[in-house]
């Protein structure tokens, strides 16, 4: 599948609130703050914004955010499904909207108090058992005590370990790398708090085989991005960060967090579908990426993502990681902001912003000579991915 807007649109602004355990203010306030920052970073004024793209699970309606920001007229607004899976899907939607002329400047945002108010990791409970599709779907796991994303992801992890001989230490190396990157990022939850593999192994069980340090910290915060056409981007103050391609993927027998019924459950075929689209659209390949932001709400699902994008062969991600490829100075420095394990869990949107900084050359853990950065959306759900590139 070819994306006719490939390379024709750009991210021109990013903005975030602080990431915290308790923001102390409403999610609407967080959404408005991060959007205002992104608009300012782009050198735009709110009244110039005419498109907004958000997450289906975002609780703040576009019109409420727009009203507080002083956005006047919206000619495009849309929502993307599937929680963190939407991270790059929003870019995809915004790029299509600005490319077709549905709007000129698309504002993309995600804000929540996912730590201090509604924690996914606290477990799904207290909902009535009305037969809405989501509750019917939960009916296959909640009665058995599998109430949390950690428990759903752990099921994939055990099978992956069984099939490929991966170990908890292999997962732990991802956490250690992320935390090393977070340690030098003042915006990160875990600024100046690097960990060792021993710390990882000693951390308590959440859902075996997941240790505490395999799981991201739930966060309060907001992150916004501003997307426009490359042509308009050239008139703005920041160096444009080109959306070389963005893609969404949902694969055969796709289910929410529990695609357990496929012949093989150790891969992430929906991410493979994103990978095929990105490589096709751009003519680029794994060797052309200088860095990557790999969605890391839980460490085990980082491994099959590396395999789906072809950075290593299937079942060999553990060796790829062990060989230091994801470290600064390695073949594919990953999650230079600390990732969701180290910086904050903002449904992957903070990762998109880090990819923008890497291309701009402004990451706190800057990788030299970045032309292209891969960024991925949430896993175990219908997902998305994008390549952000330096303007040619």
């Amino acid at each position: 599948m070819s994306m006719s807007f490939a390379g024709q649109t750009a991210v021109v602004g990013i903005g975030a609130t602080e990431f915290s355990k308790n923001s102390g203010r409403s999610t609407l306030r967080l959404a408005v703050e991060c959007c205002e920052a992104a608009i300012a970073d782009a050198g735009l004024l709110p009244e110039q914004i005419d498109g907004m793209v958000g997450f289906t699970v975002e609780e703040n309606h576009e019109i409420d955010v727009a009203r507080s920001l002083g956005i006047k007229e919206l000619t495009h607004f849309s929502r993307i499904h599937h929680s963190g899976g939407a991270a790059c899907g929003t870019l995809h939607q915004a790029a299509m909207a600005v490319h077709t002329g549905a709007c000129k400047y698309a504002l993309v945002y995600r804000a929540f108090n996912e730590r201090s108010e509604t924690r996914f990791g606290a477990g799904v409970q207290g909902l009535d058992n009305a037969p809405t599709p989501i509750m019917v779907d939960f009916g296959w796991c909640l009665p058995f005590g599998l109430l949390t994303p950690a428990s759903w992801v752990a099921m994939f992890a055990t099978r992956y370990m069984h099939q490929y001989g991966a170990t908890s230490e292999d997962f732990g190396r991802i956490s250690v790398a992320d935390r090393r990157h977070a340690a030098t990022n003042p915006e990160a939850f875990f600024y100046q708090q690097a960990i060792t593999l021993e710390d990882h192994q000693a951390s308590r069980w959440i859902v075996k085989p997941l240790h505490l340090l395999d799981c991201c910290q739930e966060s309060d915060g907001g992150q916004a991005l501003l997307v426009t056409t490359l042509e308009r981007a050239r008139d703005l103050p920041n160096e444009p960060v080109v959306i070389a391609s963005a893609a969404q993927g949902s694969a055969d027998d796709q289910q929410m967090m529990k695609s357990y019924y496929r012949d093989d459950i150790t891969g992430i075929p929906e991410m493979g579908l994103c990978a095929r689209q990105l490589w096709n659209d751009t003519g680029l390949g794994p060797d052309d990426m200088q860095a990557a932001i790999i969605y890391d709400h839980f460490t085990p699902l980082v491994l099959p993502q590396l395999e789906e994008f072809g950075f290593c062969a299937v079942g060999e991600a553990k060796d790829f990681i062990k060989d230091g490829n994801l470290e600064l100075g390695g073949r594919l420095p990953m999650n230079t902001n600390g990732g969701q394990l180290g910086e904050a869990y903002i449904h992957g949107m903070n990762g998109v912003a880090e990819a923008v900084r890497l291309v701009r050359g402004t990451s706190v853990n800057q990788v030299p000579d970045v032309s292209n950065v891969l960024v991925t959306g949430g896993t175990a759900v219908p997902t998305s991915a994008a390549i952000l590139s330096r303007a040619g």
Binding site: G121, A122, G123, V124, Q125, N129, A130, P131, T132, P133, M135, V136, D137, F138, G139, W140, C141, L142, P143, F144, G145, L146, L147, T148, S151, A154, M155, F156, A157, T158, R159, H162, R204, W205, I206, V207, K208, P209, Q255, K258, Y260, Y261, I265
Partner: protein, 473 residues
């Protein structure tokens, strides 16, 4: 022990009890001959399918030459049934045996009873038509003891069983605790029984498309959606067959056998409606689909990918049945192990037994044990137990079954000795494990000693030593 003298067992009572020690009862002929009907009830209750007990053709060709009774039934033949306790006295008319001890302790307030252990010696297997004579002697009565269950006295009996020719066929030592209900050091009210009274689990939301599945669970079936056109299976259910496009969707009833495809062990966060650690499991059914469930009765550290499991539809709380899984019962060995096959240290495969109310009651009836604590939950509570619990003879029968299922139908039991720990309450799973302790050739016979343990979620229910005779070449 209490300092309060008034609560102590009077010296006179203890002296009266101890006068009975060592006085043998006059031999008494059992009410019924060894018979096929009682053997069949026993085998049904214990789910013991060894054909030497019930299949005349197989038994005739076996080492026994005909039908035999399960060895663990030894004392069943002498049980009095639902009739009042018979008088027991010696040939010279003195009080003797267990009955006067039970009566005197009852009168002194020690009204509750539990078996603590038992040991059988088998001199030969019993056959239908055998008529036994039993003589019993009290061998000891303990001082008053403070036990976890309550203040009470242990006493032990020895029973000797002879056949119609006067030849000894077996011997039993039996150890019992009689105690005062409500004087225990552990809280044995219902809340002490973890898992029986707790917050309800989350209910599944049921749509018109998934109703067949949950209706099936309520009826004790695991139903998997099946396309009526192309026979494709779909779980969770779809509304249109993605394979062939048909809307004609039915279901098959799963045989409930499968293997662990993946699993997790939930530690955090914990919720009051579940027991932890909780094993979540993805089972690959033999029919070809997978299903999310819980593995029950297996310690988390013993769970492995590929492990055979079987369906156990259980009511997790009133009004909710769920398709759970437990370790699959190992297949019964059809040709008996040889002595040369065994060496010390060898492990027996683990075997689960679902402790249902039916098993507890059926086992008590099959062993002619009409103690109310084994069939009447209200009276069990009055006697200081949170619920009915399994009697020791059912535990003997299940241990007998576990060992013969592993060793084969023609293994000969020489000794079976049990020590009981925590009770088996309904809803739990008893899991047997075992190990070969020693092997020896004695008088040309291959003698093997096993250590067998049965655990449930409260702890060790039974620790047994078993002496077997296995064929030598």
């Amino acid at each position: 022990m209490s300092d309060d003298n008034k609560s102590k067992t009077p010296d006179a009572l203890l002296a009266a009890l101890r006068r009975i020690v060592g006085v043998a009862t006059e031999p008494r002929v059992t009410r019924d001959d060894v018979n096929q009907a009682m053997i069949r009830h026993w085998c049904d209750a214990m789910e013991d399918h060894n054909p030497v007990y019930t299949d005349p053709a197989f038994a005739a060709e076996s080492v026994h030459g005909g039908i035999v009774a399960p060895p663990a039934m030894l004392d069943t033949w002498s049980m009095p049934g639902l009739a009042p306790r018979p008088r027991q006295e010696s040939s010279s008319g003195e009080e003797a045996g267990m009955v006067p001890v039970l009566n005197q302790l009852d009168a002194a307030g020690f009204t509750s009873v539990v078996a603590a252990g038992m040991s059988h010696e088998y001199h030969r297997y019993l056959k239908p038509g055998d008529r036994l004579t039993i003589s019993q002697v009290i061998t000891s009565v303990s001082d008053e003891k403070q036990t976890a269950l309550g203040v009470g006295h242990f006493f032990t009996t020895e029973s000797n069983f002879a056949d119609q020719q006067g030849n000894s066929v077996g011997r039993m030592e039996f150890s019992i605790l009689k105690f005062k209900p409500g004087t225990g050091t552990v809280n044995m009210d219902a809340s002490a029984l973890e898992g029986l009274e707790k917050m309800p689990r989350p209910r599944p939301a049921i749509s018109r498309d998934t109703k067949f599945f949950w209706d099936g669970v309520d009826q004790g079936e695991l139903r998997i959606q099946k396309c009526n056109s192309c026979d494709g299976l779909h779980h969770p259910p779809v509304v249109r067959c993605p394979g062939c496009g048909s809307y004609e969707l039915g279901y098959l009833v799963s045989q409930g056998r499968g293997t662990v495809y993946s699993f997790v062990e939930v530690h955090h966060p914990q919720f009051p409606m579940f027991d932890y650690p909780l094993v979540g499991v993805l089972v690959e059914l033999e029919e070809g689909t997978r299903i999310i469930s819980n593995l029950v009765g297996v310690k988390p550290e013993d769970v492995e990918t590929g492990m055979p499991v079987e369906l156990a539809i259980e009511a997790t709380d009133p009004g909710l049945s769920l398709p759970l899984f437990r370790r699959a019962r190992p297949a019964r060995r059809e040709s008996t192990l040889l002595f040369a096959d065994l060496e010390p240290g060898q492990e027996l495969p683990p075997c689960p037994v679902a402790i249902s109310r039916t098993l507890i009651v059926a086992g008590a009836m099959a062993s002619r044990d009409f103690q109310d604590v084994h069939h009447d939950p209200d009276l069990a509570k009055k006697r200081g137990s949170p619920d009915t619990f399994m009697n020791i003879m059912t535990t003997s029968g299940l241990t007998n079954r576990y060992v013969t299922d592993w060793a084969g139908p023609e293994v000969i039991f020489r000794k079976l000795s049990l020590r009981l720990g925590v009770p088996n309450f309904p809803g739990d799973t008893l899991t047997y494990t075992g190990q070969v302790q020693s092997t020896a050739l004695r008088d040309g016979k291959g003698v093997v000693e096993l250590l067998v343990t049965g655990t449930n979620k409260l702890g060790d229910h039974v620790t047994a030593t078993v002496e077997l005779e296995l064929p030598t070449p």
